[in-house]
């Protein structure tokens, strides 16, 4: 029996939730959009208090500040390497676990461990593992007869090291979501294809994968957004280096906002990033929906 609750009571009950959302999400969000039009530098004798500068922050970003775009290029490279690997490995995991194998429940539990770990803790542990002098990664390579690698300490390998950590943490997420999706797929189309003589590979490419399209699209969007938000591993594993090899976009914004204290400028960078990521997501969405 539906409760007879009047509108006033409904609003009253909703108010605490709304208040929290307004104060911790919508408020700062609007404030960020407001601040992007100001020069606000916390130590500056003139700009310590916000000074309206119109679109100057954006003009600087587009005309002078190449570091911002360098960070974007690196973020794209990171995303383009990490996301496909996670999808391929995640799909393999899901397909492997989507059948009755001994100990599959334990395996699924183990898969959840990286997801349960805080990225900062994971980054710190990987920093120890990748230590080129006495880390486990090189010890393992030594055991199998391979030469030691510089990992996160080399300009050429630092980005790949970040990818390794990202893949380690997020492949299980992709795998588990796809496993759930596979388990919920209707059996009939696959059985029909089998009766028609389709091979398992043909069934996967022409039946399973199209049926998974929506969930793949969702996962892809989530992973792209997450890749653009990568911060913790950089902060703990590479500090954006060596040199600037792993200074991705969020780390760049952090440096500008919380190291240089250019708060208004960092707000403009964040807004521009939100616009760019939204554009990418919409483009992907349209592409995949075709």
């Amino acid at each position: 029996m539906p409760l007879d609750v009047d509108l006033k009571t409904k609003l009253l009950l909703l108010a605490p939730g709304f208040a929290i959302i307004i104060f911790i999400t919508i408020g700062p969000f609007i404030f960020n959009y407001y601040m992007m039009f100001f020069r606000w530098k916390l130590y500056d004798p003139i700009y310590r208090h916000p000074v309206f500068v119109g679109l100057n922050n954006f003009i600087t970003l587009f005309t002078e500040y190449s570091l911002f775009w360098d960070a974007y290029v690196k973020t794209f490279i990171f995303t383009l390497i990490a996301v496909p690997i996670e999808f391929v490995l995640g799909m393999l995991l899901a397909l492997s676990l989507n059948r009755k194998i001994p100990g599959d429940r334990i395996l699924r539990g183990i898969l959840l461990i990286p997801l349960a770990m805080a990225p900062v803790a994971a980054g710190s542990i990987w920093r120890v593992i990748f230590n080129p002098m006495n880390g486990f990664a090189n010890y393992f390579l030594h055991l199998i007869g391979l030469p030691p690698q510089p990992w996160n300490t080399s300009r050429s390998q630092a980005m790949l090291t970040l990818v390794v950590v990202d893949v380690w943490q997020w492949t299980p997420f992709v795998g588990i979501v796809l496993l759930s999706a596979l388990a919920s797929l209707p059996r009939e189309p696959m059985e029909a294809a089998m009766i028609d003589g389709a091979s398992p590979r043909q069934i996967f490419w022409h039946v399973t994968l199209p049926l998974l399209r929506n969930i793949l699209l969702l996962l892809l969007i989530l992973r792209i957004i997450e890749c653009f938000k990568t911060f913790d591993y950089i902060y703990t594993l590479t500090y954006g280096g060596p040199g600037s090899a792993t200074t991705l976009i969020t780390y760049r914004i952090y440096l500008d906002g919380f190291r240089r204290w250019e708060v208004g400028f960092a707000a403009a960078e964040a807004v521009l990033t939100a616009i760019i990521v939204s554009f990418i997501v919409v483009a992907f969405y349209r592409l995949m929906r075709r």
């Binding site: 230590n131 500090y239 060596p242 040199g243």
Partner: protein, 532 residues
């Protein structure tokens, strides 16, 4: 404290000479203005509890020229009555970086409770977030701490936020209880001042040392091989190191993977501080910013570029991954006996060197004198740590915080706190007493070496400086960026940051002197050696 003795210190003398360039009119004008302001403020506060005792401030314009590094206002003509030193019921909150700066106060807290009855709560944060945490709190108008630890280099930034109290009046009042200026590292004393005011008491110099493996240098076979290969005795390096000999030594001992020539933490932000700056100061002989906030980085030509190229060259003799090594990583390599030479902070590594539970090189360490570069003669230090009183500490709390600071920084207590926390002494006597307690530590000349320090003068723009180095110098050292372009871009970052300061007519009063090299200018030889 005998401030007059400062005249004997060469470094201060140089600064005093430069200040003579100020016009007399300006000095008198400044004196009159300051006197007016002080008189006005003094009058307002005369009856208030915030007034430090019954201080009557009289400005002496003449002293501006002779003691400008001490305090521009050079106030106080009469000694105020000392307050009673019973602080029972007073609760102070202290904030610092985690590690030795926090542990020293934790250790001192029970003693201070016993001595003065005060309670101290210690709040600490990792170094990476300490400054950010403070800034966001202070900008929000919140000062939760009565006294705080600061890297001296950070002090101007925090002072600019208006949350630090100058302590000139307290120092003047209690000068008899404080160590003489001869006891302090002169350049650190200089750096404790901002805009002519003393904003904190000197806690430690936080000196960046070069350590070498004594056993290797004393090995007759190594000595013989070295002399045959390089044509001069290996022990020459220990008497008067320069970069030419330094490069020979680290090349000679570089025998990977068992032994590396040299190890120094080079990840960000370490690269911002000890690594490149030692090379900058020694290769150029100039500070980084001049009196008008104008950077030197793109004005030193070949010598500026040499400061980066030298570090790049020395990377060849460092362990793999050194560009991502932080202090613990680099120290671990040295303690494992895998490096012949190491650079490291004294607060961080001093006791570990001779601790058999963590070190394989016990009894095998020598402390290297400062490097004589082609131009400058120094080692880098960020010029230490200060203990500062915030504006939250009023009246009795201010007095209690000052007593706590004096106690923690007293030469008699310094060895105790060093042993219990790792926070090393600032004073000459403190180091002497520490040596008496720990004769195994190779630190007999450390105070003399510390006087050959140089540091960064970034004024209130600490963040711009650190980020500028990360964005430009770190990529140059890593081989991503042309060193000349890196120096030019860094200079541009700084010029932009300081533009408002230049416009406002503010002068830079920080770190304008680098200890000069008494040897020959060997720029060309060094360039040839590293292939520049």
């Amino acid at each position: 404290m005998n401030l007059e003795k400062s005249k004997d210190i060469e470094i201060l003398k140089k600064r005093i000479t430069r200040r003579k360039a100020l016009s007399t009119a300006a000095k008198v004008g400044l004196g009159v203005v300051v006197a007016g302001v002080v008189a006005g403020v003094g009058g307002y506060y005369a009856g208030s509890t915030a007034a430090p005792g019954k201080t009557v401030t009289v400005t002496k314009p003449t002293t501006v020229t002779s003691t400008v590094t001490k305090t521009v206002t050079a106030t106080v003509a009469t000694t105020p009555t000392k307050p009673k030193k019973d602080f029972t019921g007073v609760k102070l909150t202290y904030a610092s970086m985690s590690g030795p700066p926090a542990d020293q106060v934790r250790y001192a807290a029970s003693l201070l409770k016993e001595k003065y009855g005060m309670d101290i709560e210690v709040v600490d944060y990792p170094w990476e977030v300490f400054f950010s945490k403070l800034t966001t709190e202070f900008v929000a108008g919140k000062v939760s701490y009565d006294f705080i630890w600061l890297d001296t280099a950070m002090m101007p930034g925090v002072a600019e936020l208006g949350i630090l109290q100058p302590i000139d009046d307290l120092v003047e009042r209690d000068k008899a209880e404080l160590p003489s200026i001869d006891e302090l590292v002169p350049i650190h004393w200089d750096y404790a001042h901002y805009e002519g005011k003393l904003y904190g008491w000197l806690n430690t110099c936080n000196y960046n040392n070069f350590w070498v493996r004594k056993d290797l240098f004393e090995d007759p076979k190594e000595q013989e091989n070295f002399e045959r290969q390089y044509g001069y005795p290996l022990t020459d390096f220990l008497k008067q190191p320069d970069w030419l000999k330094f490069n020979d030594v680290i090349e000679f001992f570089h025998r990977p993977p068992d032994l590396y020539g040299y190890v120094q933490p080079l990840c960000w932000p370490q690269l911002c501080f000890p690594a490149w700056h030692t090379r900058w100061f020694t290769c150029t002989g100039v500070p980084e910013i001049d009196e008008n906030w104008e950077p030197y980085w793109d004005r030193m030509g070949k010598n500026g570029i040499l400061s980066i190229e030298l570090l790049k060259y020395q990377l060849k003799f460092m362990p793999p991954g050194v560009l991502a090594m932080d202090n613990p990583d680099a120290l671990a390599v040295y303690l494992d006996g895998k490096a012949a030479v190491m650079t490291g902070w004294d607060t961080f590594c001093l006791f570990k060197l001779e601790d058999p539970s963590v070190s394989k090189v016990v009894g095998k360490n020598l402390h290297l004198p400062p490097i004589g570069g082609p131009k400058g003669h120094c080692v880098y230090t960020n010029v230490g740590h200060l203990l500062c009183i915030t504006t939250a500490a009023k009246d009795v709390k201010r007095e209690a915080a000052w007593e706590a600071i004096k106690f923690i920084c007293s030469p008699e207590f310094e060895p105790e706190r060093t042993i219990h926390s790792g926070q090393t002494p600032e004073t000459k006597t403190g180091w002497k007493l520490l040596m008496q307690k720990h004769p195994e530590l190779p630190i007999d000349k450390i105070f003399d070496y510390m006087t050959h320090c140089a540091t960064v003068a970034y004024g209130p723009f600490f963040g711009d400086y650190v980020t500028g180095v990360k964005d430009n110098i770190a990529p140059a050292v890593a081989g991503e960026k042309d060193p000349e372009k890196a120096l030019k871009d860094l200079a541009e970052v700084y010029r932009k940051a300081y533009e408002p300061y230049r416009k406002s007519g503010k002068k830079n009063t920080h770190g304008l002197t680098i200890p000069q090299w008494k040897g020959p200018d060997y720029t060309e030889d060094l360039c040839k050696q590293i292939g520049l």
